[in-house]
């Protein structure tokens, strides 16, 4: 009998299966709460349930770009390769979930507002944020020199985070069709108790998914760099 040995970077970190399990369990609970336990919205009906994936996707986008910022500052400070690996991993996840938040928002907007897309501050600032991080990833792809690529990307990653508060607060700064923040706002959440609990569990599930994807992607990045 022969045993194939894979280095740890190829197999992935030990925590990965636990993160996958936790994501699956909390995700299943969130799905049950969102589809069965939480009441339908009095005005919007079942369409409102899309909030349980739209809001966590937007939250993940914020989280991912804040992590890009922290990792970028860490790179500029100490030139640690792991900081750069975290930055690129988080940026890719952030782009994916920003796009997902826009698509899910569009699906919700069609029956609610009557249009797939409208020129509205939250939508435009989110699209601009997506463009910035697509530019960030494009910038990374244009250079093969590791040190230069990481420094250039870190500068952009450190600046681009300014978009996160702009996106979040755009609905309070300008006349907006999009509803005002329901959870991240001064005062108690403007939601029914069961809806709020469901939303929190969904956010937890998405955050675990983010952690899983981040750890897996950082592992891949390290494997790629250590490859001969």
């Amino acid at each position: 009998m022969t045993t194939t040995y894979y280095p740890r970077v190829v197999r992935g970190p030990r925590i990965l299966p636990y993160l996958a399990g936790a994501t699956a369990i909390v995700g299943a609970i969130a799905l049950f709460m969102a589809l069965v336990w939480a009441p339908a919205d009095a005005v919007q009906g079942d369409v409102q349930r899309i909030m349980y994936v739209h809001v966590p996707a937007a939250w993940l986008a914020y989280l991912a770009f804040v992590v890009v910022f922290l990792a970028s500052v860490a790179w500029l400070w100490g030139r640690s390769p792991i900081a750069d690996a975290i930055a690129v991993a988080s940026a890719e996840i952030g782009v994916l979930f920003t796009a997902l938040a826009i698509v899910l928002g569009s699906i919700w907007a069609k029956p609610t507002w009557g249009v797939w897309w409208t020129w509205e501050p939250r939508l435009i600032t989110t699209a601009v944020m997506l463009a910035m991080y697509v530019g960030y990833l494009l910038l990374r792809s244009l250079s093969s020199d590791f040190e230069r690529r990481a420094t250039r990307a870190a500068v952009v990653g450190a600046i681009a985070v300014l978009n996160v508060p702009v996106v979040h607060l755009s609905v309070t700064w300008m006349n907006a069709l999009h509803q005002l923040p329901s959870v991240l706002r001064p005062g108690p959440p403007a939601l029914d108790g069961r809806m709020y609990a469901t939303l929190l569990v969904a956010v937890a599930a998405f955050t675990l998914l983010y952690a899983y994807l981040l750890v897996a992607r950082v592992g891949l990045e390290r494997a790629r760099r250590s490859a001969p």
Partner: protein, 222 residues
């Protein structure tokens, strides 16, 4: 001492621009072309009825003009192999970044004045508060260069620079562009309070981008 070095870089840039004014000529040329096209597409009737359109198009034109002028300024460094010499000096990267921003601000003030004059004349716009419009333009000229200089600096050695700089800079300048456009439109309409409020926001974005640029900009210059 640092300020003195930055001023020396800015002075050198301005002298180079005076000797061979291709950066400012390109910036004014592009801005003027866009204003001409705008006057053709929109026309005085719509522009006079909605100063927001004229202001927004003007600031987009000025942003593209500023990108051209700043890119040209760094190109000159590369052509003359002057970059390594400046960077070798103590505090060279800080002085280079700050000096480039300073020179670009002065150049952009001139380009903005030309762009506004053309917009007002060609679109036959009656400006309600000329002093307020001048103030918004001046603060706008301070607000745009820090981030544009930063993005030009980080893409200095990239072959795809022409693609990367606008793609990165324009989304990053959205707050500045909103404040500058809205402030200019308010000044044209004679809304003093609105113009000053937008001007204050523009100043805040100028300050934030200058601090961010000065903090991490020098690290980006290769």
């Amino acid at each position: 001492m640092r300020l003195r070095r930055a001023w020396l870089v800015a002075e050198r840039d301005l002298r180079a621009e005076r000797a061979q004014p291709d950066g400012i000529a390109a910036a004014i040329g592009l801005t003027a072309t866009l204003v001409f096209v705008e006057s053709l597409l929109v026309g005085p009737a719509i522009a006079a009825a909605s100063p927001a359109i004229a202001s927004a198009l003007l600031w987009i034109a000025l942003t593209l003009g500023a990108i051209l002028a700043i890119t040209r300024s760094f190109d000159r460094e590369l052509e003359d192999d002057a970059l390594e010499g400046v960077l070798a000096l103590p505090g060279g990267a800080d002085a280079l970044y700050a000096g480039k921003v300073l020179a670009a601000t002065l150049l952009l003030a001139v380009v903005s004045a030309a762009g506004i004059a053309l917009t007002v004349l060609l679109l036959d716009i009656e400006v309600g508060l000329p002093a307020h419009l001048a103030l918004v333009t001046l603060v706008g000229a301070v607000a745009l260069p820090p981030l544009i200089t930063l993005y030009v600096a980080i893409s200095l050695r990239l072959r795809a620079r022409a693609l990367v700089v606008p793609l990165l800079a324009v989304p990053a300048l959205v707050p500045q562009l909103i404040a500058a456009s809205a402030g200019s439109a308010a000044a044209i309409q004679g809304d003093a309070a609105g113009s000053l409020a937008w001007c204050a926001l523009l100043f805040a974005t100028a300050l934030a981008s200058a601090v961010a640029g000065l903090t991490i900009g020098p690290a980006a210059i290769e």
